[in-house]
Amino acid sequence: MRWLDSLFRRAEPSAQIAKARLKIAIQIDRSNLSPELLMMLQEDIVRAVSQRIDIDREGMKITTERGEGGQRLIADIPIKKVRAKPALGE
């Protein structure tokens, strides 16, 4: 009865497909910081954050996004563990 199913099942509306594809394409278009710059930023962040907590460097993600208030840099950093004795600088 597959033919019956396919007869009555409505295909996903194409506008929804368009919207989903556009969101992804635009997200890539908007991340106009060069990959080199993003890598450098990632190193800077790792250095700063690692002083206080253990992080999962492999699982770390740096992206850019533009919303209401302009473009923003988003760092997603998985925490391994908070150090027992935080190394407080001076």
């Binding site: 509306p13 194409s14 394409a25 106009n32 919303g67 209401e68």
Partner: protein, 271 residues
């Protein structure tokens, strides 16, 4: 007095920048505003034919910039609307014939005498776009509810921000309410969610645009068609009026096709 320079741009070609510029010029002039429209698409002049003024061109924007003609000599007055004037693009030159500083000078001269200076930007993000955006006090982005046009609009929004202009507003052009209803066209809300800028108008797909452009009479001249009324509402919003957004009839429905056929049986109403 000092008028406002509004640049109409889109990134993608063929979404209706020139039609929008012509009709907003007409709609603002009908409201008694003094309007100058500049065709900034040097080498691909078109605002003249859309406005129906192509037979009266003597001088163009490059003649003014290079000092062969005075601004007053190059401006063409619309006989139907004496408050509406147009500065045509040069047809035999390319976009590098004018630079952003010259556009700023030109726009500031026009601002002294007009309430509105509308700049019809060429497609693309290169030299011609930069010329068109340089003098803008406000930027209006035209898009259609299609992936390519919306994506390009997003690029343009970024470039307008980079040029340190105020946040642009959006005209959603050629919307087909029947297709939106069926889920086969991006809805206004979808486009606004993606682009994250304010809407200033929705213009429904309307065959009248084609027939009126054929004749060189912009739809906003009589304001009877759906598109003509839509441009009238956008003009009112540009003047700061709070005009609600219209909900458009489903022009693809069987009933409206029958109605259309009765109005114009030879018009191929079935298509």
């Amino acid at each position: 007095m000092s008028g406002t320079v509004i640049t109409i741009t889109s990134g993608k070609g063929g979404v209706g920048k020139t039609t929008t510029t012509a009709n907003l010029g007409v709609a603002l002039a009908r409201r008694g505003k003094r309007v100058a429209c500049i065709d900034a698409d040097i080498g691909l002049r078109n605002l003249d034919v859309v406005l129906g003024l192509e037979n009266r061109i003597v001088y163009d924007i490059v003649d003014v910039v290079e000092g062969r003609a005075r601004l007053r000599q190059a401006l063409i007055r619309d006989k139907r609307l004496p408050e509406l004037l147009m500065l045509p693009a040069a047809q035999t030159r390319d976009k590098t014939a004018v630079n952003p500083q010259q556009m700023l000078k030109l726009a500031s001269d026009l601002k002294a005498e007009f309430d509105f200076v509308l700049v019809d930007s060429p497609a693309g993000i290169e030299h011609g776009f930069k010329n068109a955006v340089a003098p803008a006090d406000r930027v209006v982005i035209v898009t259609t509810p299609e992936v390519s046009a919306v994506r390009d609009a997003d690029r343009i929004i970024g470039l307008v921000e980079a040029a340190e202009k105020p946040k642009p507003t959006l005209i959603l052009n050629r919307l087909r309410p029947g297709m939106v209803k069926r889920g086969d066209m991006l809805a206004t809300a979808d486009v606004l969610e993606i682009l994250a800028i304010d809407l200033i108008g929705i213009v429904p797909e309307d065959e009248t645009i084609i027939t009126s452009t054929n004749r060189g009479n912009p739809v906003a001249l009589d304001g009877k068609s759906q598109a003509g009324q839509a441009f009238g509402r956008i003009a009112a919003r540009l003047l700061g009026e709070d005009v609600p957004f219209a909900v458009f009839a489903d022009t693809d429905s069987v009933l409206s096709r029958i109605q259309k056929w009765f109005r114009n049986p030879n018009g191929g109403g079935g298509a």
